[in-house]
């Protein structure tokens, strides 16, 4: 076998509990058509014999280390589940998970978040469901960080009121939660004890911070969420303000509010403000 093929096989034995058990029960038969040399065959047999305890121990260490990473990636979800329940679920996940397809700790945390979705009925545990969705969304944004970090190239459109164009990178998402989920998540990450749940609906902006390139989440108002949806790099600030004017409101007032909001978003690394190019 090639060095890489052997390495893949050993990694799978360590990470896939079902495959490992099959190998421990059936020996080389469980490895299918793996083209092992005599030395590799002997080494594999030793893993079932006197190296077995070491193999199982290494697997536990590996799972433990990945659980540690998970605590950093889904901190509020795990806190809400409690230490015992989250460890039990993580062990169950470990029994089901396969080495293939799980390439990074972030991908694994996402897989675990999906595993939890299958385990818990969101109707019975609304808070857990909301917190898990909140953290999963942040991870999805994080996973996408290398794909689309650059903003749209602005189209050349005629200036109307302002010479500034607002652009939010593709890697963002807006979601509405039934609770004040940002406050709950922050509280769960930093404190212990009981929590009185603030039953206030929140809209959360998930994005990659333009300055630090890290995933971030911020609570935004409904008006801010509407503004963000218009900041696609194709409209200048005047056009955005005009689109957002509600009956009875004065356009210059809305424009001032939009300018302030866009500056605030830029300050938080959620948006770029680019100079507007005049056509012709």
């Amino acid at each position: 076998m090639t060095v890489l093929a052997t390495q893949r096989l050993v990694a799978r034995l360590l990470m896939d509990a079902h495959f490992r058990q099959q190998f421990l029960d059936e020996g080389l038969l469980a490895l299918g058509d793996a083209d092992l040399t005599d030395v590799e065959q002997r080494g594999m047999e030793e893993l079932r014999g006197r190296q077995r305890r070491g193999l199982e121990f290494s697997s536990t260490l590996l799972l433990g280390r990945r659980e540690q990473s998970l605590r950093g990636l889904l901190p509020a979800t795990l806190r809400l589940l409690g230490a015992n329940r989250s460890s039990r679920l993580w062990a169950d996940y470990g029994h089901q998970a396969r080495a293939e397809g799980i390439s990074t700790v972030t991908a694994e945390a996402l897989a675990f978040a999906r595993f939890l979705e299958d385990r818990f009925d969101s109707r019975n545990d609304e808070l857990l469901s909301a917190v898990r969705r909140f953290e999963r969304r942040k991870l999805e944004i994080y996973e996408s960080r290398n794909r689309t970090i650059e903003p749209h190239t602005p189209e050349v459109v005629p200036a109307i009121l302002e010479s500034t164009i607002a652009m939010i990178p593709d890697t963002y998402a807006l979601e509405v939660f039934a609770f004040d989920v940002t406050q709950i998540a922050t509280w769960l990450k930093t404190q212990s004890g009981t929590l009185s749940i603030p039953a206030i609906e929140t809209t959360v902006l998930f994005y990659i911070d333009i300055h630090t390139r890290r995933p971030a989440a911020a609570k935004v108002s409904g008006d801010m969420a509407a503004l963000i949806e218009f900041c696609d790099g194709r409209r200048n600030i005047g056009q955005i303000a005009r689109a957002l004017v509600k009956p009875g409101a004065r356009e210059p007032d809305v424009l001032r509010l939009c300018q302030a909001a866009v500056r605030e978003l830029e300050r938080h690394g959620a948006m770029r403000i680019a100079p507007f190019e005049r056509s012709g």
Partner: protein, 283 residues
């Protein structure tokens, strides 16, 4: 490659140091006269915050950098982005050397998140040599390879570990970061004599030594970096310092961090052993 040999031979003495953790920040400054250098986990310097902290520490201490994710045992070239990031760290801080482990942390596109053993075989050695040469070219500073603690022997093993390590060190003209706690737990778990292992190594290539504590779980000795250094490991340090021109002795205490005075007393003991070794080797 000869230039790497020369670089290794000419490496200066660094003395006694400590693997740094942010929670030690005030203590390391308070005990500045007890610490000759700090060893930083290279991955932690890659963030803006980590870089800022490293710059601050560089004002007070000599810095060494220790990598975790080069995965030089993987049958694929080390991750280009990671290598470039570490090369930038080398450029910025100009350390005497940089180190990583003889291990796998990645298989194909799977990040394992932990150091796993490679098979001790000729094929595996040639994979490592290719990767080490690639890294040496990228870093332009001496590269040290560290022995890991492992709890099973990787299938495909056909050599003893000391011969395997020696072949890699000599073929690549690398230095060795000898982890004595790893050696000790391996010798207990796999039933061999650690002093025979040491005698089989090219000791002139041992540049840095790591020492740490371990714990027992289900009759397995586990490299935890969370306990006081064991008397057997102190004895190994005495032996190595008496037989090799060790440039740096580093204490690893990554968890269960005690009152800093306990760390300082271990640093004092390390210094006494290291200085005794220097006297012996110069006489």
């Amino acid at each position: 490659m000869a230039s790497h040999q020369l670089m290794i031979e000419r490496l200066p003495d660094c003395g006694v140091g400590l693997v740094y953790h942010p929670e030690m920040r005030n203590d390391v400054s308070r005990f500045r006269d007890k610490i000759d250098y700090l060893e930083l986990i290279a991955d932690r310097v890659l963030s803006d915050l980590g870089l800022q902290e490293a710059r601050f520490l560089a004002g007070e201490f000599r810095l060494l950098f220790h990598g975790l994710r080069l995965s030089i045992g993987s049958d694929q070239l080390p991750d280009t982005t990671y290598v470039k990031s570490l090369a930038t760290v080398v450029q910025k801080f100009d350390p005497h050397w940089i180190s990583d482990h003889i291990a796998l942390t990645r298989v194909g596109d799977i990040e394992l998140g932990r150091l796993l053993p490679v098979p001790f075989s000729a094929d595996s050695a040639s994979v490592i040599c290719r990767n080490v040469r690639h890294i040496q070219l990228a870093f332009g500073c001496p590269f040290l390879l560290e022995n890991i603690a492992y709890y099973f022997i990787a299938p495909g093993t056909e050599l003893d570990e000391a011969s395997f390590i020696t072949s890699v060190l000599e073929a690549t003209n690398s230095g060795m970061l000898l982890d004595l706690n790893n050696l000790y737990v391996n010798s207990v778990n796999h039933g061999y004599d650690p002093y025979r292992f040491l005698s089989a190594l090219p000791l002139q290539r041992v540049i840095e030594v790591h020492i740490a504590g371990h714990a027992w779980r289900d009759e397995i000795a586990v490299d935890t970096h969370g306990h006081a250094v064991d008397p057997e490991v102190w004895a190994l340090l005495e032996w190595v310092c008496a037989h090799a021109r060790v440039r740096a002795v580093t204490l690893e205490r990554d968890q269960n961090i005690p009152d800093f005075s306990e760390i300082v007393s271990e640093l004092d003991r390390m210094r006494a052993i290291w200085q005794q070794g220097r006297r012996l080797s110069s006489s």
